[in-house]
């Protein structure tokens, strides 16, 4: 395999994993924006998306598209319900409390999924066949194109939601200054609910599109969540575009480290770079430091 083909192959691999990391990172960012908390059940939502879709296709005999939509809607509902049942009843939801609660949510979700949907790995057919597409000596799986496409659409839609719709603007206002937003009549509580729903949907979409390529087991969520969290940190927590930049950077780093350095230390190399970036820019690549006027 010549140099260009290998590099291209690794870049393809890096971008498609990176896109998934980016989707998961969006979930972290949206919830961080509205609550200042890190949502540790993000990875479990990814896992649930894949498992519910596979169950709907396998046991429910549903067509693929419908199964995937059902999975995303179901997980989004579960995300919203989780918020209403745990965060909402709290009198004063501080970030640290919400973070702790999401750890509990993650453990609960994982155990319930194991009990209800089982412990066996599942998968289903890729959206449009498995014949790899050849580009300049490298190959790309058709599902990778779906992953890239769906991630792009989701990113644009989220951007549109936050920039153009009243609800999105209200959420941004609530994120910027909770008290001021509440004073002008924005329901901060509802914006937290919506952020949970969006985050769960982002996770479920990630799960639904990667399961055909990588399969899904009930205990996959933790690692996926961890990678998504790293991507969010790398790009800058709370920054939507940071998720995209962070996700793609992390994916590419992993692929290139695996291809050129050592597969034993693939994750180690990726995380070492993450550390170095955070030393130099503690707020992440696109993150802005808090500026306090004295």
């Amino acid at each position: 395999m010549d140099f260009e083909a290998k590099l291209l192959q690794l870049i393809f691999a890096g971008i498609s994993t990176g896109a998934v990391y980016a989707l998961i990172a969006v979930g972290f960012n949206v919830i961080f924006k509205s609550t200042d908390a890190i949502n540790f059940s993000q990875g479990e939502w990814v896992m649930m998306g894949g498992l519910i879709a596979a169950t709907a296709i396998g046991a429910g005999q549903m067509p693929l598209v419908i199964a995937c939509i059902i999975a995303v809607l179901a997980v989004a509902t579960i995300g919203g319900l989780s918020e209403r049942l745990t965060v909402f009843p709290m009198r004063r939801p501080t970030p640290i409390l919400i973070t702790l609660i999401t750890i509990g949510l993650a453990i609960c979700t994982k155990s319930l999924v194991m009990l209800i949907l089982g412990k066996l790995p599942v998968g289903y057919k890729p959206f449009t066949g498995e014949t790899p597409i050849k580009i300049a000596g490298a190959t790309i799986h058709p599902q990778s194109l779906w992953i890239l496409g769906i991630t792009a659409v989701f990113m644009v839609a989220t951007h549109f939601f936050f920039e153009r719709t009243t609800m999105g603007k209200a959420m941004r206002a609530a994120a910027a200054d909770r008290q001021a937003a509440a004073l002008v009549g924005i329901s901060v509580r509802n914006s937290i609910l919506i952020s949970f729903v969006i985050a769960a949907a982002a996770g479920a979409i990630a799960g639904v599109i990667i399961t055909p390529m990588t399969f899904m087991v009930y205990d996959n969520g933790t690692m996926l969540g961890f990678k998504g969290f790293s991507a969010a940190m790398l790009g800058g927590l709370g920054n939507l575009y940071g998720a995209l930049v962070g996700g793609l950077t992390l994916g590419l780093l992993e692929a290139l480290a695996g291809g050129y350095v050592s597969s034993q230390f693939k994750d180690a190399v990726a995380f070492l770079v993450l550390l170095l970036v955070l030393f130099a820019r503690p707020a992440g690549i696109l993150g802005q430091r808090d500026i306090t006027r004295v």
């Binding site: 192959q9 066996l120 790995p121 790899p132 690692m223 992993e254 291809g259 597969s263």
Partner: protein
Amino acid sequence: MKLRTYAMRVLGATLLATSGTVPVKAQDITIGTILSTTGRAAFLGEDMKRGMEIAVEEINAKGGVLGKKIKWIFYDTESQSVKGVNAVKRLISQDKVAMVVGGGSMSGIALAVLPMTERAKVPFISTEGSMQIVNPVAKRPFTFKSTADDDQVVARALDYLKKKGVKKFALLHSTTGFGQSALAQTKKVAPQYDMTVVFEAFGPADTDLTPQLTRIKERGAQAVIIWTVTPAGVVALKQMQQLGMQKMYRLHSYGFVSQRYMKLAGDAAKDLLLVSVKFPVGDDLPDSDKAKKKILSLIAKYKNKYGREPNQFVAQTYDAIHLAVIAINKAKSSDSVNIRNALQSITGYDGASGTFNFSKKRHSGLSKNDLVLVKWEDGRFKLADY
């Protein structure tokens, strides 16, 4: 009320003891077992436990051992080493077992409990995979194992590749204990076959193996041996297909002999070979194979009792109980040193996993002759290389 019952009991006991007409009931021989029927390793533990149930029933139906029935005590270790340690403590101190058979369905648990059985000098037959369990023998004189060793699995795979003229192969292994053991053994075994190896690793939850596979392709390996028990093994197969590597010899280790994985891999499992014990292909074995009869009868008994097909894990525990009983019979007592010596002297025992030969120096009974290569075809495993 309580006092009265107590008094009556004392009275009764005195009467019995003095009259001498009622024979003292021969004490049963107790064998203790720990396996994980819940938790992460539950998919192994369930069938492993049933294999033992069948063996104990068989033996007791034939009159037990040394004229006594086997009393079999089972604890679930829930895939956790801590639970395993507690259960073994109880087996040794409270239940006073003659032997411990089964080590929690996970090598990690077996390794965690064996210092206790060693200290108490209770013979322990592990039904788990890792070679470390029985090595070094000098430090573990009371520990035995009824499964194949990793170096033999590697050797079996390389025997085949040598036959096909392969000079350079890749080992694509997971970074877990299971995979690291393969790495260590391959480093030892490969030079004996005069082959060069490309080593590549992946995390058990990895979702993309393109970088590793690209490197393998680039280095010109003619064959790939994949070593994992997680779905990443399916990803490897699918991505090899995507990268046009399906013409290479592709082998999976015994950890991947699972219908579930084969179905998930679909087309990508075509021409794949798996190193396995003989159990999954019992039907295809030649009649001269000594394990064949045992395997078929075990499958029949299992189906009869539980109403479904067993998996290969049932054989290693079924054999372990039989080995324990043979040793007790040979030792003619439940004295632990005698049982240990008897276990060490078992040779040529034909079980459902193969022929067991133990010695003072080897506490692992199977050899690479007990391993075969199988392939997945028409929805079942078939014998590919005997």
